[in-house]
């Protein structure tokens, strides 16, 4: 029997969390370092998976299948293709960086923090590797509880409100998804995600198909989040501790989009196409998310909230790309290449948004740790005082607004290139988002925070005489891997797209 790599990636964090549980509470440093160093194991395994999968990224590999609950026909099914492999690397990388960053920043209830964080990693990783609906759902929900506690215990002032809002929103979506999963099972007779998709559930009953489609769609839309289901996000992001925001933006939002691509699109292509082309509800929502999210950013004076809303806007590109790919089914004369490009853009955006916004939240956390304020108006002229920080922020911010040569550019280019060929109206409106993004990054983030004269008095008044220091070594170490990736993917996107393209091609050719 082969070594069960995927099980290892998923459950090694669980093992580490149990080790953390055993270590006495007082040995905080041991807990911190042990979990960080051990978390390199899933990262290394994820890179190995990436390396192996890239040889043939279009097929499911590393398959594992064991009977789990025979009475319910539930299996322990795992497998990865190019898309999941990329997401695995992203999850493992951000988790390790967060654990490392927490060594220096989390002082309170260290043991519980590390325990919960590792548990969260189990849930996130599991979603990307499961190929069985119930199994998928189990991981989907398991991540919810630690995230709820992370926000509620280590969060900011309105953490209680934010955490419960986060939990209830997601729970609502999950419950809808649970019913849809059962309905699909009753119709197709299997919980296997791939087989169920191949069986095309409810193909002969359009009403049921539409209901099941919307149940799945809403569950994932809440997580993405797509307007109007996005209101939990600004609260959760703003109140979560820095690492919580990083994981929320970097990985948790991706779970929803991943679900759209992995489950909804292949299983309900007809419905997805119908609601993307004939009755274009989905692209409308996507465009609203993009433009509205960006406009809210323009009006935001809380730096963290600004980044949070920028996620709404940026995840809108993903939805737009996926819906363009779906619409190509019904759009007359749409060429399949454009559909594949749009889907590639959407999947690439998952990765690039993960590293860029993850990085931005780290950066916001760093300035907050110094100033204990996030109000943009309190800052100004920091470029002189913190040149290193300024530099890193510039790169990350430019990547976020899609500057060519950095990672964000490619995903946006692909999304719009694909969408223009299929549903041009929405692409044209959506592109406004790019303009607004450039505006708020340059104007709000760069100009207000870094440029201009540094006013010592204003700083002292706003931060109660906080000391102003440039980035510490651990902060640099946290940021560099992300910055390197931004540049690397920016210069050589096929590092990632090669894997994604194969998946998109297989997905869209199966229609």
């Amino acid at each position: 029997m082969n070594f069960p790599v995927l099980s290892a990636i998923t459950f090694v964090p669980l093992l580490i969390s149990l080790i953390v549980l055993i270590i006495p509470k007082s040995k905080e440093n041991l807990i911190r370092w042990a979990s960080t160093i051990l978390s390199l194991i899933p990262l290394a395994l994820a890179l190995y998976v990436y390396y192996v999968v890239q040889a043939d990224p279009g097929t499911m590999q590393f398959r594992e299948e064991y009977s789990w609950i025979p009475a319910l026909d539930v299996y322990y099914r795992m497998g990865v293709d190019g898309l999941s492999a990329v997401m695995l690397v992203l999850t493992a990388l951000l988790s390790t960086l967060c654990l490392y960053y927490s060594i220096y920043t989390v002082k309170d209830r260290v043991k519980e923090y590390y325990f919960l964080f590792l548990l969260l990693q189990v849930g996130m990783t599991g979603v990307f590797v499961s190929l069985d609906f119930v199994f998928f759902y189990v991981f989907w929900e398991i991540g919810l509880v630690p995230m709820y506690l992370l926000i509620g215990v280590w969060g900011g002032k309105r953490r209680i409100y934010a955490s419960i809002k986060f939990f209830l929103y997601t729970l609502t979506g999950s419950m809808a998804m649970l019913l849809a999963i059962i309905a699909v099972y009753l119709n197709t007779g299997t919980f296997d995600i791939l087989k169920a998709a191949a069986a095309q559930p409810f193909a002969n009953n359009l009403t049921y198909a539409a209901v099941a489609f919307w149940a799945f769609f809403i569950a994932f839309a809440i997580k993405v989040p797509i307007f109007p289901f996005h209101t939990w996000l600004p609260d959760a992001h703003t109140e979560a501790p820095t690492t919580g925001s990083v994981i929320l933006a970097g990985v948790l939002l991706k779970l929803g989009a991943y679900g759209l691509i992995r489950i909804v699109l292949p299983m309900f292509p007809e419905q997805f196409a119908y609601y993307s082309y004939e009755v274009p509800i989905i692209p409308i929502l996507a465009v609203i998310s993009i433009v509205y999210g960006a406009l809210v950013c323009m009006a935001q004076w809380d730096l963290k909230r600004l980044i949070a809303y920028s996620s709404v806007s940026h995840m809108g590109y993903v939805t737009l790309g996926v819906s363009a790919a779906a619409a190509s089914l019904h759009a007359p004369g749409a060429d399949p290449t454009s559909a594949i490009i749009a889907l590639n853009g959407a999947s690439l955006q998952l990765f690039t948004h993960g590293i860029i916004t993850g990085g931005l939240f780290f950066l916001v956390g760093m300035i907050y740790d110094r100033a204990h304020t996030r109000q943009i108006k309190d800052f100004g002229g920091l470029g002189v005082k913190m040149p290193y920080y300024y530099g890193i922020m510039m790169v990350t911010g430019f990547a976020s607004l899609g500057l060519p040569g950095l990672a964000g550019f490619w995903s946006e280019l692909f999304v719009f290139r694909g969408t223009f060929a299929v549903i041009p109206t929405f692409a044209m409106i959506g592109i406004l988002g790019l303009v607004f993004t450039a505006a708020y990054i340059l104007w709000k983030v760069i100009q207000h925070v870094f440029l201009g004269e540094f006013d010592q008095e204003k700083w002292d008044a706003a931060t109660h005489n906080a000391k102003i220091t440039d980035m510490a070594t651990f902060e640099k170490v946290t940021m560099w891997p992300l910055v390197i990736l931004m540049v690397l993917v920016g210069l050589y996107p096929s590092l990632i797209t090669r894997l994604l393209n194969a998946v998109s091609t297989v997905l869209l050719n199966n229609f």
Partner: protein, 489 residues
């Protein structure tokens, strides 16, 4: 001989009742060991019933003049009853020690109610059912009002008694109507008598079903027959509350399942409609009222009403199912019952431990529990998550089975109500978690809460089982399915 062996767990329980009561009556000075005597009686009974279930074969059938059903369903509830006795005694040991001088009475009544539970689940005749039902009810009234100097406890006892007598009377009336139609009190004879019945008699059978449902609804704390439960839960000594929430509810569902499926399959269309209504009312009312509760015992009482509603979904959707197939409904009802009871028992164990130490049952006094006792806060979180139905805990498997059966039987509206309710329930359960984990302590010097040994046994057991049922669900589902096979024939 076989019947004697089959009833051995009950005989042991009853013998222990007599023994504990008798020794207490003899006036022995030192009564410290009475709980241990009761405990050993319960443990022996549990051991025998488990041995019987796993390693002994009985000729399945109706015995003792049609009074007792000797089938796996009975054996399942024999284990259940003895287990309840063991766990409730463990819960009570530390709690009751300095709260009441009447140790002997208390433990003999705990054993007696457990005896009554198994008797009720074993019954296959309306007369026997009524006797066991009354034995269970009357002992429960006494236990509820056990702190007779505490006005709340006395009030709870009286209230429970008044509601209970009314419910029993109505149930008895329903039974007599059924007897009038079929000329038999035996469940199987009734089922035969109802086949091809003159349609004009439907107007007798239908009220009979309604009246009997009042009685069962009362026992299972199903809305709208639930009014006793919040007050009784709040006033009763906490271990007794745990018993009411676990033992009594379990027994109620046992007899509900047996009567509906064995005796009334002919009128399934009728009772399914009634129970659907009860289920919707129960879920919605229970959850909505639970939100505003400040006392954790009352909150758990209302949430229990809601859970009764979820369980009934399984019975409703049983209709066209085939036992052993996926989502057959009946498996769901018993699995849900099992996971709910374990989680609920655990939750009440935590409540007992906290009340024992702080004397308070207010949810706001759970603030900062994680600092005062990580064990209590951690296990309570597991129980509450199971009650919400988060994967990894047994509650998820229960929900999956019950919702699945509703969809399979095409009760879409019922499924929709159930999921909306699950989200509502998430809110108030999380509220407790929020207090335990997020709220800082009022005074920094609040002392830690020590959990007595007997209590932590219950806690750890309930926690382990809650997690096991979620992760390795197969053996439990299999166990439940074997236990259900014979009630149907």
């Amino acid at each position: 001989m076989q019947i004697f062996l089959f009833l051995l767990p009950q005989l042991v329980l009853f013998l222990s009742v007599v023994l504990v009561f008798g020794i207490d009556l003899m006036g022995s000075k030192d009564k410290q060991w009475l709980p241990y005597l009761a405990l050993s009686g319960a443990v022996i009974s549990l051991g025998i019933s488990i041995y019987q279930y796993g390693w002994m074969d009985f000729e399945e059938g109706i015995v003792l003049g049609g009074m007792i059903a000797m089938d796996s369903f009975s054996r399942f509830f024999q284990i259940f009853a003895s287990l309840v006795a063991v766990l409730i005694i463990l819960l009570s040991m530390a709690y009751m020690k300095d709260k009441s001088p009447y140790q002997g009475e208390f433990y003999s009544f705990i054993l007696l109610v457990s005896f009554a539970i198994s008797l009720l689940a074993l019954s296959s005749d309306l007369v026997m059912i009524f006797i066991a039902f009354e034995l269970l009810s009357i002992s429960s009234y006494i236990l509820t009002g056990f702190f007779r100097h505490d006005p709340k406890s006395s009030e709870a006892g009286i209230k429970y008694f008044l509601y209970g007598s009314l419910a029993s009377a109505m149930m008895l009336y329903g039974m007599s109507l059924l007897y009038g139609v079929t000329a038999s009190t035996n469940l199987i004879e009734i089922a035969r008598g109802l086949v091809g019945i003159d349609p004009s008699l439907n107007w007798v059978v239908f009220p009979a079903i309604v009246l009997m449902l009042v009685g069962f609804g009362f026992k299972t704390a199903t809305a709208p027959f639930h009014q006793w439960s919040p007050d009784a839960y709040e006033g009763a000594p906490t271990p007794v509350t745990a018993f009411l929430a676990v033992g009594s509810i379990g027994a109620g569902f046992a007899i509900l399942i047996r009567v509906m499926i064995t005796a009334l399959p002919e009128f399934q269309m009728n009772w399914v409609a009634l129970i659907t209504g009860l289920s919707i009312i129960s879920m919605t009312l229970g959850n909505l009222v639970a939100i505003s509760q400040k006392n954790i015992k009352r909150m758990l009482a209302y949430s229990g009403i809601a859970h009764s509603g979820y369980i009934l979904i399984g019975l409703v959707s049983w209709g066209s199912g085939v036992l052993g197939t996926v989502f057959d409904g009946l498996t769901g009802i018993l699995v849900y019952l099992l996971v709910y009871l374990v989680a609920n028992l655990g939750a009440f164990a935590v409540v007992t431990a906290i009340e024992h130490k702080t004397g308070s049952n207010q949810i706001e006094d759970y603030a900062g529990l994680i600092k005062r006792s990580p064990l209590l806060a951690g296990t309570m979180a597991v129980f509450l998550l199971s009650l919400i139905g988060i994967p990894g805990t047994g509650g998820f498997i229960g929900k999956l089975l019950v919702f699945g059966s509703a969809l399979r039987a095409e009760y879409y509206f019922l499924a929709l109500v159930a999921i909306i309710n699950s989200v509502v329930a998430g809110f108030y359960y999380l509220n407790v978690i929020r207090y335990m984990f997020f709220q800082p302590l009022d005074e920094p010097a609040r002392e830690a809460i020590q959990v007595p040994g007997s209590l932590s046994v219950v806690l750890v057991l309930a926690c382990v089982f809650t997690l096991l049922m979620g992760i390795l669900a197969q053996p439990f589902i299999h166990f439940v399915q074997t236990s259900l096979k014979l009630v149907l024939s």
